[in-house]
Subunit: 452 residues, 2 copies
């Protein structure tokens, strides 16, 4: 529990709060909507939460220079809806976009469905206003034109999970809406065939907007929940979209279909109209919620692997599940190599919980050994703090900590998140479910409304 | 003059050098080919240069994962030529690419002709290996897949001008070569018409690969040097290219031509074949060299302005030139809003030199007041150190310096470049031409081979 939660309404409020809290040596935890899955916005050490949800205004939409200036607490979908009529959009679209704030998207460098082609949040941030741990207000790269001067502070702050400063305003780059789409889904007998299709499409030089994958168990869960019409006997499903200008999309999609057929696709369906396409994406974005129908709790893993290795990764995840006697369902941003194995469990079964934690660790370690990473888009938070040494060598971890201290010499701002701290130690061996345990994020307790 | 110049051949060499120099408290200046234009690789304070030109190997070209791993001293064009047969390319193409190293491109976050559509160097760097000021070797984001974990160190190091570490290896993102081009040049009576065309094209939603501009004086210089066939009575020239897939290029180019005609284009020529296109780009890339024909020395300014304000910027630059009785020729990466006014002078005329410095400062200050920046692509180096306070407020400058110290606590690595130092003060008021003066970069002494 936090000591207090503050809901400032302006940058000046945030600055004043931070100055008061700093004067009293109180730890601060910045928070948006709290949809993060790695415990990054959770209080540990008797801190005060500064929550940005009342800083939700859109200050300016500048069509001519293609930038929207928003307060950090503005929800992603609020901006999207506000500019829908302009023909422009803010590209990052995490599945949490109905709830998550743009400040939070920046802090976790959020991904989403169209990341494969259009990039992550950091590719769409022109400038930031940030309150530093001493209460000073810093504005950087908030000019109207390209500004490549000096250290790239917005780049550094994207994905910094609130350890360097509190983001208060964001200069969002707006890009033209794609003019046309082609959307298909293809079903396969095996995960291997679907994964191979993904690797082959990328290798042939096409960059689809999205290539999303579900395994057979996940298809059944989603079909039972949403009755979309998926073949529940299939072993795997790919959902593929290309966007751009009409003239070239049929050609691109035909190449993709040829590759799927070479990899023994059982069936391919075109989403011919906008309604069917919207239905398909809604089904995809609600997959995590559907898990609530079959399991009391679940733990969503998040890692990235080289796309060429997807087939063996799925195989290895299955083996790790079998070894620990766990059901694992898979839903991937396959085009990005961003995997989300979902480990099902009952939180009242302590032994099973331990097996889930063990299996999770083995999956992440395996991903690193084949050239992958410990997180794709959900961040490190506290959940994966202990895995950072698997990913990075000592000079790099020291460099990260030195950087943290350059912003926050007293280590009062979200300390011991993302980067192992030399000041605050978090006991990662508390049992999950206890209020001290860091895994408050990816361990989701029966929440059918959840979304990733 | 440096105390010594070291030519290491490997990362280990660099690390060993740095450890020895650190033990003797000797200042270090990293340097690639030395083509930088802001004095970033020049020694001031009795330092030792570590020059990467013998670290020129291409370690690996991985087509499947679209990455090339090169030593920092590999020249940009060497990589480009080496992968020409693969259908892939390393996108950044500064005009210095025949000479400049990829490590140097990273350090200045170099731009180039196709920056408008394809982005600057930082958009194309997947990972870096860096020797830190204590000699430790840091590798970051060198994984085979997307790695958005922790502070974005490669992002931070791109454009850091050698003040944080010495870049030794670069993981370069490779992208498919565009399949087709359309290239035109259009001549106009006035700068205003050409600038307005640029602003209108951007506003209508087309993003050309390049939109380059020359003013009337520059057209004459280039035509007299290269006999391309430009109309020397024209007041301004735009060179516009679009790339992508054949099917949509005619449509895009026709829209651009319509906009040029609306803005009173006098004549428009299509570059129908590859040879003519190559000739046109060669003429553009050699513009700076051609200045040597008409002036003993010249000072190239580099700033960015909002594209919508280009017409008034050209007007203001002309007024500042008139006020100080100076000839100013203009060549712009107009599509990016990146202006390069070229101030001609005779270095033996001390009063004229002073007027050039005064006019340069006025141009930069003006650009900042209209929402622009003090540099577009050439960097800050020492040349623009005194202008950093015009661009950034005190908390930001302090943050920059704190970041510098997080990497380099003793401030031994290229100190007092890019960021005003609290340790080393550089006297910016030495007369140019004296060996102490910082403006050794953009002040180019009669060098017809120069290129930007």
């Amino acid at each position: 529990m936090p000591l207090a939660v503050v809901f400032p309404e302006s940058t000046q409020h945030v600055s004043q709060c931070v100055k008061i809290l700093a004067a009293h040596n109180l730890a601060i935890v910045p928070r948006g909507s709290g949809t993060g899955l790695a415990g990054g916005s959770v209080v540990y050490n008797q801190g005060v939460i500064i929550c940005t949800t009342r800083m939700s205004q859109i200050h300016k939409v500048d069509i001519e220079n293609r930038v929207a200036i928003v307060q950090a607490g503005c929800r992603n979908l609020t901006l999207t809806d506000a500019i829908a009529c302009t023909g422009l959009r803010f590209s990052p679209d995490p599945s949490s976009q109905r709830a998550s704030t743009i400040g939070g998207n920046v802090s976790t460098n959020a991904g989403g469905i169209n990341t494969l082609k259009h990039g992550v949040t950091s590719n769409h941030i022109l400038g930031l206003e940030v309150v530093l741990p001493d209460g000073e207000i810093l504005q950087t790269r908030t000019h109207q034109c390209y500004d490549g001067i000096g250290p790239d502070l917005p780049g550094l702050l994207c994905g910094s999970e609130g350890i360097l400063g509190i983001i208060t305003r964001v200069w969002c780059r707006l890009v033209p809406d794609p003019k046309a789409f082609r959307t298909i889904y293809a079903v396969f007998k095996t995960n291997h065939d679907a994964c191979k299709t993904v690797a082959d499409v990328i290798a042939c030089g096409i960059v689809p907007t999205s290539m999303e994958m579900m395994d057979g168990k996940m298809i059944q869960v989603v079909e039972n929940a949403f009755h979309f019409g998926f073949d529940t006997t299939a072993g795997a499903l790919l959902l593929i979209e290309v966007d751009g200008v009409d003239e070239i999309l049929d050609d691109e999609m035909n190449q993709i279909i040829a590759i799927a057929n070479e990899n023994h696709a059982m069936d391919i369906e075109f989403c011919a109209d906008a309604a069917r396409r919207a239905e398909l994406w809604a089904a995809r974005k609600k997959t995590f919620g559907a898990i609530g129908r079959i399991s009391r709790s679940y733990c969503t893993m998040d890692a990235c692997v080289p796309r060429s290795k997807l087939p063996e990764v799925v195989q290895r995840v299955t083996e790790i599940g079998a070894k620990h006697d766990l059901q694992i369902n898979n839903v991937f941003h396959a085009g990005d190599g961003n995997i989300h194995p979902i480990l099902l469990f009952d939180e009242d079964d302590a032994a099973q919980v331990q097996r889930v934690m063990q299996a999770s660790e083995e999956i992440l370690e395996y991903c690193v050994t084949i050239g992958g990473t410990i997180t794709g888009e959900h961040g490190v938070g506290v959940e994966k703090l202990a895995m950072m040494h698997v990913m990075f060598n000592k000079p790099t971890l020291k460099m990260f900590l030195d950087l943290k201290k350059a912003f926050d010499p007293k280590q009062m701002l979200n300390d011991a998140k993302l980067i192992p701290s030399d000041k605050l130690r978090i006991d990662l061996h508390q049992p999950p479910g206890s209020s001290e345990h860091p895994l408050t994020g990816n361990f989701t307790k029966n929440s059918p409304g959840g979304a990733l």
